[in-house]
């Protein structure tokens, strides 16, 4: 049943300027699955993503992509494997949105040639799939935060790497677009794309993720497994220091394809109601 793990992390430790940021992290990512990394602010989620794509070197332990150590891959080799949707991005210069998405094709371009006709076709498809085709000729400097995030996602899709990494990439989206990106990610996962994301949106992470890695504020691994296993009241309190109420609903017409776990339930997390006044 289990597909081969394309990414394996074992006993990973990492310190930044003498401060331990991540401790004893171990998990694996199978091809075509969606893995969400969750935890409080400062728990090392973004650092972990940087380690996974070889931008930082582990202090101890190992990160292996198909048996090659992450930090030993060249930037080009990594870009062929992983496309990244960054957290935020200032645009000091005004590019046409289409030109900006075409930057995702950089690794495929010959030194003397610009994007080919095929590259432009891929760019336009990527824009369409993120509901941004109408932005194609707009200037990047005048996009809203949400529009820019969708364009960044389009650029990562145009890169056509088997793995997509998102670092809080839907944080600036409105409810409608957040939902459509969430569905797009699930669709991509069903079509074989591997997705590793840092997310604060517990409901949508629970809905689309096959596996969740929950980190404590000290950078320890609280749990790794299916949303069902990981997102319990006790774990969430350990991660965020808040008590939550979990509602488990059966989804109508359950058993839609592509989800390896048995769960046809949708988890709903509602923070405990705010209490006003003194309690008896």
């Amino acid at each position: 049943m289990m597909e081969a793990q394309m990414l394996q992390i074992q006993k990973l430790d990492f310190s930044y300027r003498g401060k331990k940021v991540l401790r004893q992290i171990s998990f694996g990512v199978e091809q075509g699955t969606i893995v969400s990394i969750m935890g409080a602010n400062g728990s090392g989620k973004s650092t972990l993503l940087r380690l996974l794509r070889g931008r930082l070197r582990p202090e101890s332990g190992s990160i292996r992509w198909d048996n090659a150590a992450a930090h030993k891959l060249s930037r080009r080799e990594m870009a062929l494997q992983v496309a990244v949707v960054p957290q935020q991005l200032q645009q000091p210069f005004g590019f046409q949105v289409r030109e900006m998405v075409a930057m995702g094709r950089y690794i495929y371009q010959q030194p003397l040639a610009g994007p080919s006709r095929q590259d432009w076709k891929i760019v336009d498809e990527a824009l369409a799939s993120t509901d941004s085709a109408h932005l194609a000729t707009r200037c990047s400097a005048e996009l809203s935060g949400g529009e820019l995030q969708r364009v960044m996602l389009a650029r990562a899709l145009a890169q056509q790497a088997p793995v997509l990494m998102l670092d809080e990439a839907t944080s600036q989206l409105d409810m409608g677009h957040k939902r459509s990106i969430c569905l797009l990610l699930r669709h991509l996962g069903q079509n074989g794309k591997t997705i590793v994301q840092v997310s604060h949106d517990m409901n949508s992470a629970a809905e689309i993720s096959h596996k969740i890695l929950l980190l404590s504020p000290a950078g320890e691994q609280i749990a790794f497994g299916s949303p069902h296993e990981v997102l319990t009241s006790a774990h969430i309190e350990a991660a965020y220091g808040v008590q939550v109420e979990i509602q488990r609903q059966s989804s109508t017409g359950g058993g839609r394809g592509g989800r390896p776990e048995e769960s046809t339930e949708i988890l709903r997390f509602l923070p405990q109601p705010l209490m006003f006044g003194s309690t008896p």
Binding site: G94, E99, P115, A141
Partner: protein, 330 residues
């Protein structure tokens, strides 16, 4: 600031029109003004003798060529520095090249007789030496952007301090020459070296143009560029060396012509967007035209005396740029 993304297909004809107009003005105006028919006649009969023919063929054409070369080199290197440093206010002299070149030139003017070749030679050496020094310092930090800028500013300041010291003790005559050189001066151009300079500059510009996609990616920040597959350290070194060499050649041939490298790339971005596939050739052509036109003005305003061309580029460029900002801001 909203670049219009329409009408982009007109960029090449418009750029060439601008350059053509500037070249015609550069050939017609000066101490000896020419009518258009005279100019055409002279250009069609290269062998004819006479004062005006000599003026055009011996004086103005080489000078127009020099101005075009220097303008192209400065505008393209400015474009590259702005993209790599992600700073629209970066100019070609940001890495201390100007300080090194100025020191070299003033040394030549103060201590050597007015041998025409010593100034460009020492200015070029000074520029390269400054670049090398900046690189040596920044290398310890994998040539990180902020280290490069800081090292550049420091090397520049050091050179300026030594230069001020030299100028204090220099006799009046070389000092006047030095001031003229510091403000940018196309009259000193060494004709013999022009073809070599032009050859190297054109190759460097084509090389940078061929990496337009790389420059695009650099504007997204080094972190993002690395994720898009760029070997940051190596490519940044290549871009800095190519752009630095362009500046060194420009400075050696014409002194410190300011403003071209800052304003030209910026203006083109406002007009046609930031994509380097278009920006690099457009900057090369408009930069060339801009300096040719500015030089024509510098020769005519106080004829027969000359205004340093750097003064004209700033006097013309700054108001035009402000107008463009206002126009595009609406």
């Amino acid at each position: 600031m909203r670049p219009s993304v329409r009408h982009t297909y007109l960029w090449l004809p418009l750029c060439l029109l601008f350059l053509g107009g500037a070249v015609v003005a550069g050939l017609m105006y000066g101490t000896v003004p020419l009518t258009p028919s005279e100019l055409v006649d002279i250009l069609l009969h290269p062998q004819s003798s006479g004062l005006k023919s000599t003026v055009v063929w011996q004086l103005r054409l080489p000078r127009v060529g020099l101005a075009a070369l220097v303008g192209m080199a400065l505008a393209v290197s400015g474009t590259v520095f702005q993209a790599v440093l992600r700073n629209p206010l970066a100019d070609p002299y940001i890495l201390g090249v100007s300080g090194g070149a100025a020191l070299g030139a003033v040394l030549a003017l103060t201590f050597f007789s007015v041998q025409s070749y010593t100034v460009p030679l020492l200015a070029f050496s000074g520029a390269l030496l400054a670049l090398f020094l900046v690189y040596l310092v920044a290398r310890a930090h994998q040539a990180a952007t902020h280290t490069l800028i800081l090292a550049g500013v420091m090397v520049g300041s050091l050179c300026t301090a030594v230069l001020m010291f030299l100028l204090l003790y220099a006799p009046a005559d070389p000092m006047r020459n030095a001031l003229f050189w510091l403000a940018g001066n196309l009259a000193r151009g060494e004709e013999r070296w022009l073809p070599y300079g032009a050859g190297v500059c054109v190759i460097l510009v084509l090389l940078l143009w061929s990496r337009a996609g790389l420059l695009d990616v650099f504007t997204q920040g080094e972190d993002v560029a690395a994720d898009l597959g760029v070997d940051i350290g190596r490519e940044r070194l290549f871009l800095f060396c190519a752009a630095g060499l362009l500046v060194a050649i420009a400075v050696a041939l014409a002194g410190l012509v300011g403003f071209v490298g800052l304003v030209v790339p910026h203006a083109i971005r406002l007009l046609w967007g930031a994509g380097h596939m278009r920006l690099i050739p457009a900057a090369a052509i408009i930069g060339a035209g801009f300096l040719v036109g500015a030089d024509a003005l510098a020769r005519t305003v106080l004829a027969p005396a000359e205004v340093p061309v750097g003064v004209v580029t700033a006097l013309v460029g700054a108001p035009f740029f402000l107008y463009l900002l206002r126009l595009r801001g609406r």
